[in-house]
Symmetry: C5
Subunit: 311 residues, 5 copies
Amino acid sequence: MYYQIREGFPKIDFKYLDPGILTLGVILLEELEACYNQFGFSDSTLMECRYNTQHIQGNFDSYHDYVFGIIFGLNKQHILKVQDKIAVYIKKNLLLIVIIEDTNNSFINKTKELMKRIKIENITLERLTFGFLERLISDEYLLLEQIETEISNHEDRINDRDLDKNFNSQITEIRKNLLLLDNYYQQLMDVGEELQENGADIFTEDNLNFFRVFTDRVFRLSNNTRMLQDYCVHVREAYHARLEYDLNKIMKLFTVVTTIFLPLTLIVGWYGMNFTAMPELTWKFGYLFVIVLSIIVAIICILFFRKKHFL
Amino acid sequence: MYYQIREGFPKIDFKYLDPGILTLGVILLEELEACYNQFGFSDSTLMECRYNTQHIQGNFDSYHDYVFGIIFGLNKQHILKVQDKIAVYIKKNLLLIVIIEDTNNSFINKTKELMKRIKIENITLERLTFGFLERLISDEYLLLEQIETEISNHEDRINDRDLDKNFNSQITEIRKNLLLLDNYYQQLMDVGEELQENGADIFTEDNLNFFRVFTDRVFRLSNNTRMLQDYCVHVREAYHARLEYDLNKIMKLFTVVTTIFLPLTLIVGWYGMNFTAMPELTWKFGYLFVIVLSIIVAIICILFFRKKHFL
Amino acid sequence: MYYQIREGFPKIDFKYLDPGILTLGVILLEELEACYNQFGFSDSTLMECRYNTQHIQGNFDSYHDYVFGIIFGLNKQHILKVQDKIAVYIKKNLLLIVIIEDTNNSFINKTKELMKRIKIENITLERLTFGFLERLISDEYLLLEQIETEISNHEDRINDRDLDKNFNSQITEIRKNLLLLDNYYQQLMDVGEELQENGADIFTEDNLNFFRVFTDRVFRLSNNTRMLQDYCVHVREAYHARLEYDLNKIMKLFTVVTTIFLPLTLIVGWYGMNFTAMPELTWKFGYLFVIVLSIIVAIICILFFRKKHFL
Amino acid sequence: MYYQIREGFPKIDFKYLDPGILTLGVILLEELEACYNQFGFSDSTLMECRYNTQHIQGNFDSYHDYVFGIIFGLNKQHILKVQDKIAVYIKKNLLLIVIIEDTNNSFINKTKELMKRIKIENITLERLTFGFLERLISDEYLLLEQIETEISNHEDRINDRDLDKNFNSQITEIRKNLLLLDNYYQQLMDVGEELQENGADIFTEDNLNFFRVFTDRVFRLSNNTRMLQDYCVHVREAYHARLEYDLNKIMKLFTVVTTIFLPLTLIVGWYGMNFTAMPELTWKFGYLFVIVLSIIVAIICILFFRKKHFL
Amino acid sequence: MYYQIREGFPKIDFKYLDPGILTLGVILLEELEACYNQFGFSDSTLMECRYNTQHIQGNFDSYHDYVFGIIFGLNKQHILKVQDKIAVYIKKNLLLIVIIEDTNNSFINKTKELMKRIKIENITLERLTFGFLERLISDEYLLLEQIETEISNHEDRINDRDLDKNFNSQITEIRKNLLLLDNYYQQLMDVGEELQENGADIFTEDNLNFFRVFTDRVFRLSNNTRMLQDYCVHVREAYHARLEYDLNKIMKLFTVVTTIFLPLTLIVGWYGMNFTAMPELTWKFGYLFVIVLSIIVAIICILFFRKKHFL
Ligand SMILES: [Mg+2]
Ligand SMILES: [Mg+2]
Ligand SMILES: [Mg+2]
Ligand SMILES: [Mg+2]
Ligand SMILES: [Mg+2]
Ligand SMILES: [Mg+2]
Ligand SMILES: [Mg+2]
Ligand SMILES: [Mg+2]
Ligand SMILES: [Mg+2]
Ligand SMILES: [Mg+2]
Ligand SMILES: [Mg+2]
Ligand SMILES: [Mg+2]
Ligand SMILES: [Mg+2]
Ligand SMILES: [Mg+2]
Ligand SMILES: [Mg+2]
Ligand SMILES: [Mg+2]
Ligand SMILES: [Mg+2]
Ligand SMILES: [Mg+2]
Ligand SMILES: [Mg+2]
Ligand SMILES: [Mg+2]
Ligand SMILES: [Mg+2]
Ligand SMILES: [Mg+2]
Ligand SMILES: [Mg+2]
Ligand SMILES: [Mg+2]
Ligand SMILES: [Mg+2]
Ligand SMILES: [Mg+2]
Ligand SMILES: [Mg+2]
Ligand SMILES: [Mg+2]
Ligand SMILES: [Mg+2]
Ligand SMILES: [Mg+2]
Ligand SMILES: [Mg+2]
């Protein structure tokens, strides 16, 4: 569908497009195939739209009198697969969004949000494009904040008594997502930079700072993603150190227990021997002696480990 | 063999080459030696073709009126050795592929695929070259997806009961392959960038975006390879953490078992002593007392470790 | 409030601003909304001021006849959240600071400090701007020195007998703060570089070295932050090695204790057997023999471990 | 000695040098001191030749009408010390190699090899220089292949039963060598790039691709060195994981052994107690009962560890 | 003091400075404050001299007709604190060194060394400046060689029987020093590069290669520092692996000892039971049987661990 960006957003047919009126097109790949020639779009752009790859990293390029690019959406289940894919054509008075794949209508919804927010009085091609791009990242800071809270929760759990067995696979999951997010922002930064260069000469120089603002925002998102990646590494290293610290504590406890009981067991074994002539066995204070000896041995062991800071 | 890129793809001999008709040459190194002078190719290019190295990293360069370069194929058994090697000469109306080494005919097959896919109506030197390059990476996304699945399977196996002894050498193998793949893509990106620059001035400016599309695709491949490298590091670190977590669990179990049995063994050893005067031994409730004492000691130990979260 | 930078710093109202006299404005976001049009500031700058993000990474840009930028303050509790936010507009004879958010009045106080330090005789727009920026980093070296002392204290504690359980989470906390600080300095370096470029042509070329001095100082701060980050990594690795060294020591002690007592326990168990015919039991020197045997076994064990450097 | 590069390679004296005939000079530092003035070489170049440092990282620079540089050879015993050192002067029709230090005549031999391989019919200054440089790296691929085989052998040994005690110091040795090699190649790449720039304007533009070919080859060497460095890191990490895996296996075995014997030892200790009234001791089936009990306990332990996948 | 660089190095007073004669000034900060105006040095340079920071990272910049910069000396006790600080002004025929802080007179001594080495016959401003800078790094290679020997000694000690407890904190100390040294060289490289650019146009183009030589030397120092840093990482990792290897060896020994003695202890405990009817106890060959049984069990254990390569 093509919408003229004026009062009431009238829908018009491709055939009646007025190049003098700013228009927003949201069409399917099939519709593009029918009309890309009339718009003067290159063969190779259509080829890129059709090229059936499931991997992220879009790209924007300036052509003679239009800008063309692909934007991929995120699919958090698979690092290399992508959920959604759109193509974007921008030429004088036209922003054309080609929906190639759009599970759960995420791109369609962003387009609808865009149209609700348009202020017709001062709309320009640059504002319209910026508005669309800005919709794409509108929820990202919230997402990053959620991820930060998640990592921070993991960090707090390191000092809990019971380390969750899944701690580690959860951190790996988060790191995987951050890798993916970073890739997604790299893609959008390329988009912003390409538009800023205005290679197709379709934007007014004075309005290029809209794209600068967009690039800056995505850059900050990307930067925050990297900081979260580093934070993840810190948390993983802290988890590792906790495990090693615990192991030392366990082995100290174990050594103490064993070292106290081994000599006592030797003593009681000693007086369990069946030699016919063991004076202590028939000595009046023999039993008392072995009780006192055991207590002294136990106390010496405990004092030794106290000194060694094992207890 | 030389094929004129027109209806029927007629094979022609080197002597009857028509510089006005787009031609694809697929020849052996021996054939090149006989004819490189007539084409006006430099001595140093032939030297490069003959130079007998078994290591990856090709290079493309623009000369006066032609582009020359070497492309190496992958050999997954050895990081530094290469399986296949071709040279490519591109000049006006000629794409010349010199097969230098080609085990299992991989390059020859790619050339055949290329010829099947040519659409004669709109073929140009740029489209032909792009078509050839595009064949070289046609299976790479599939390969990367396989590798991702492989790494992901390894990740899932970390939480299995039985850690495979070969887990680690398998991950090392994958990382080695990714290093190799990344090198291979770096090589192809250099090719794409050299062609984009059009230093020999043999391409039409308008058609240069074919090479841009190629470079972009290889860049995305390389980027995905790096993401997979990072993913490998995460999985290896998770494996490491699993081992450490397990060790802690084992040592806790061990400490519990030992700490329960050591005092009990001391008690039974105690009443195995042969002192003539041990009142408990002849006491009416002596045996009952030692049974109760053992149960109490065992319960105290268990409660202690419960509190310490060892059980 | 607007202050004319001359004797007495007279406050004047926005309406009576004299573009011929150097003026410092410190206003709230609401006040900006009322007057940004008269100053000729762009819509998109106001939008940036209002844009409600809680994340660091400001940016400065040169517009037609003014410079605009956002500076975020630090919030050490949350990596991605920011405590304070100001906007800065610089045009001929005007430094306008817009306080957007300013918990505990940190920015307001820095502005007051600035005005106390102004020397009216040689003040220029460049000196005023430099003075303001220089206030922003005035306490940073002290902060870095505190952090260095803190890390150094942690390093010294590694060789203490008792490793603190919280050692690790404290180091993670410091590393988190350093990540944050580095981000903060990156932001300020961007500010300094933008001003140095003088894209809006509002500064005298001769005075640009004030901004060079500022950028250099922030660069050094950033450099020191990274050195401290590396120092943290070294300390963490040393802590890790200490834990492993200790574990080895513990296990050596444990092995020694066990290996001495196990054979002795076997010997005394041996002569605790109830066979009717055990010649040693009734032998005259039987008991003496077992005493001597035990001492010899113990000595052999100790000598063995001495040789193995376990003791 | 100076050799005119024509039939028979006539040696000539410095005094009879013909600037119109391509000449290769191979002289000692003392000889240079006598003649550098006549050649018009700068003071500072001689100073560099004499400067007595034992550390790698040469440098090439273009002067008014000549190129001057230092090349250091490798000394694998010490990272920072160098075995050999030559200076190279290149001017119109002259390649002058100054042997400053040359243990085991490695540089002298490379010069002799060079002269054997010269084809007089098409020799130029560029070919001569390239020939000399190419000699310097002629054995490097072989060396890298040897190192790769060495690392690969280490990797295979990780899965051997007996981990060599020296495994680790051997890997450290290899990594040290790779650091050194990388430095050596960086030096040669700088040489190639400086010659490619032709700053002294002594080479024909058409022949500059000889230096491009050289730089590309060294770049590939350097790249392979880095890949081997990464490979080393992977092998070291695999070795580390093997140690940890083994430790877990050992501790599992140990826990199983201890947990089976501890209850059995308790049981036999139990019936070794000397209480006057222990009904089991005189029970008809007492001995049979304790045999069966022991077998049951052992079986339960084994089944428990089977279920826990310890066996 | 100001010294005219001619026969006898006559000291002259500031007032009688002859701008036509090359002069070396070595003055204190107080003296600078009195005269910087007459030299035409900017306010901001004096401000930089006075700015009381204790942190490394100097900077050099070209002004209208002079070069100004700060150089910090090293203080190995504190990463962020600096021991010494000088300012350097260079203008036509004047090298002015301002001693701001100079514990143990290190800078003063370097200036004296410089004057001893001046050869008056061919002295120029460039040679004088180079001579001064070259003095600053004259002992650095020796220092790096000492550090390399130190690291190498640490590496050798890894294979010693007794790992020093302080091994780790010593390596951390070295790494801290290398971080510091690298920072110091970065600072000097900036100095060399600034002088090479000759932004103040006070040097003869022909003499700029003195600064190139200086920059190259410092670059090599920096490079060697980084190689030593990497070497440190290798040594630390080797130390870590040694600890883990030892732990495995200890645990193997321990497991062997325990596994041999536990069954033997069970056997002797078994025949220590007091059942009235234990046929073996009264059997003629009972004692012989238990001796043989014990030897067989011990041999089986030893053979088992031999096969498992624990012994
Ligand atoms: Mg990062
Ligand atoms: Mg990462
Ligand atoms: Mg970081
Ligand atoms: Mg980082
Ligand atoms: Mg990182
Ligand atoms: Mg980190
Ligand atoms: Mg680590
Ligand atoms: Mg990466
Ligand atoms: Mg890697
Ligand atoms: Mg990454
Ligand atoms: Mg990385
Ligand atoms: Mg990583
Ligand atoms: Mg790691
Ligand atoms: Mg760093
Ligand atoms: Mg970091
Ligand atoms: Mg670093
Ligand atoms: Mg680092
Ligand atoms: Mg480090
Ligand atoms: Mg690397
Ligand atoms: Mg790598
Ligand atoms: Mg790696
Ligand atoms: Mg890498
Ligand atoms: Mg790496
Ligand atoms: Mg560092
Ligand atoms: Mg490095
Ligand atoms: Mg480092
Ligand atoms: Mg390195
Ligand atoms: Mg390293
Ligand atoms: Mg390395
Ligand atoms: Mg490195
Ligand atoms: Mg490491």
